[in-house]
Amino acid sequence: MNQHTEFELLSAFIDGELDANEQERVAAHLPSCAGCRQMLEALTSTMTDFKSVETPQPSAQDSWALRSAIASARAAGTKRGRVPRLATALAGVAAVLAGITISITSLTNSAKDAASPATFAEAGGARSENADYDQTSATQLLATRWRSFQRSTDSAGTGPKSGDPAPAAASAPAQSDLEASYDRSLQTLGRCQSAIPPAGGTLEDAFQATYEGTPAYFFILRVPADASQRLELWVMSVDTCDVLFWAEQQLNR
């Protein structure tokens, strides 16, 4: 049985790529064939997944880097003027400083008027942080954890030790503490965590804070990925488990 061939035929069928006779033949076959209907459903589910993915947008920093490179190339004539990574990094530092300023402002505003859900600490669950993150500071959080991991890996430690002081996070609690806290956690925490697609990883840390003023859970996972591991940061809305932000950082073995 060549499932591969049938799938490709069904793929051409939904694109209307078969000739009229074949389109009719496939359409007539489907009502009586559960296997082919399952395959068609798999195909349409896959296409639906594609449609659900929003078009990636370059960040302001990416756009800046592109236009700087073009300007450099113009100035240099025919020489390629790619913006060196140092310049991109310096732009990133400026963005972090701007991000921290924005975060402080957001924290002030959210403290005034946000109806705060029960925190992990109040529920006896995982820790809660009094900090408002944005894209830049969340990225910096992951970078800080990554450096801790790299150092602990180099010194043959058994797990992450407290590294550079993060903007808001303390050193990561032990896995057993996390597991214990999850037993006591709010139902929404488990619901959000279960919404993360499994990738054979380990939960390294979890806490609650706000992301651009929205109460959010922050999950840091260590994921095996082919020849190396990576850290993933998931920021999910407490209310809806919508993914507000996601970042990854490769780890060296």
């Binding site: 793929s11 033949r25 896959t46 990636p56 990416d62 996601w246 970042a247």
Partner: protein, 197 residues
């Protein structure tokens, strides 16, 4: 409400020496080039390099662009080729890095963040990186960037039939990676559905 000039008009003005026309081309195509690049190479750092390579190449090439193909087709082609070049370069570099696993560069790239709004979007992105580059290119251009088969064939400079067969196979791989399709015997007593060609 002003109407945007067509690509041909921008190209004509650029060929006549109006450099601002090229800036308008960048504004118009930056997101599209970025989207293809990041879907091909899988991370923002490399996508940034690809985007810069594409537009700096365009700055030179479009001065003499003969418009045998559409500007959009040309940009898609250059973006895919630049992405494939970078992927191959990265693979060679990774092969060399495995010889020295203790090496840790000070300029290690930082975290890559992606504008995602759902866990499913992350899964699609992960799965895309697991299929072959040839399958990824047709899938990104047709199913994600909404180019039609002819445009994909023109952008990749491959026959139409090749585009179609690669897309169907790519979808099958993605369906498995996304968990919609398993390697199982179809449950049917009916005669198997077969192509007639």
């Amino acid at each position: 409400m002003s109407t945007e000039p067509p690509d041909a008009e921008l190209l004509r003005r650029y060929r006549l020496g109006e450099s601002h026309a090229f800036d308008e081309i960048v504004d118009r195509y930056e997101t599209r080039v970025w989207a293809v690049a990041i879907r091909m190479v899988g991370n923002a750092e490399d996508a940034r390099d690809v985007s810069q390579d594409v537009f700096i190449s365009a700055m030179r090439a479009l001065r003499n662009f003969r418009e045998e193909s559409l500007l959009s087709t040309w940009l898609h082609r250059v973006t895919v080729n630049a992405s494939l070049d970078l992927i191959r370069k990265r693979k060679r570099a990774q092969a060399r890095a495995l010889e020295d696993v203790r090496e840790q560069a000070d300029d290690e790239p930082g975290p890559e963040h992606h504008a995602v709004t759902s866990s499913r979007a992350v899964e699609v992105q992960r799965a895309l990186q697991k299929i072959s580059e040839e399958h990824r290119a047709v899938l990104v251009l047709h199913d994600l960037q909404d180019l039609d088969y002819g445009e994909v064939a023109a952008a990749l400079n491959i026959p139409l039939g090749t585009v179609k067969s690669r897309i169907h196979r790519a979808r099958a791989e993605m369906a498995k990676l996304l968990g919609h399709l398993r390697d199982a015997e179809p449950m049917t007593d009916q005669p198997p559905l077969r192509g007639t060609s």
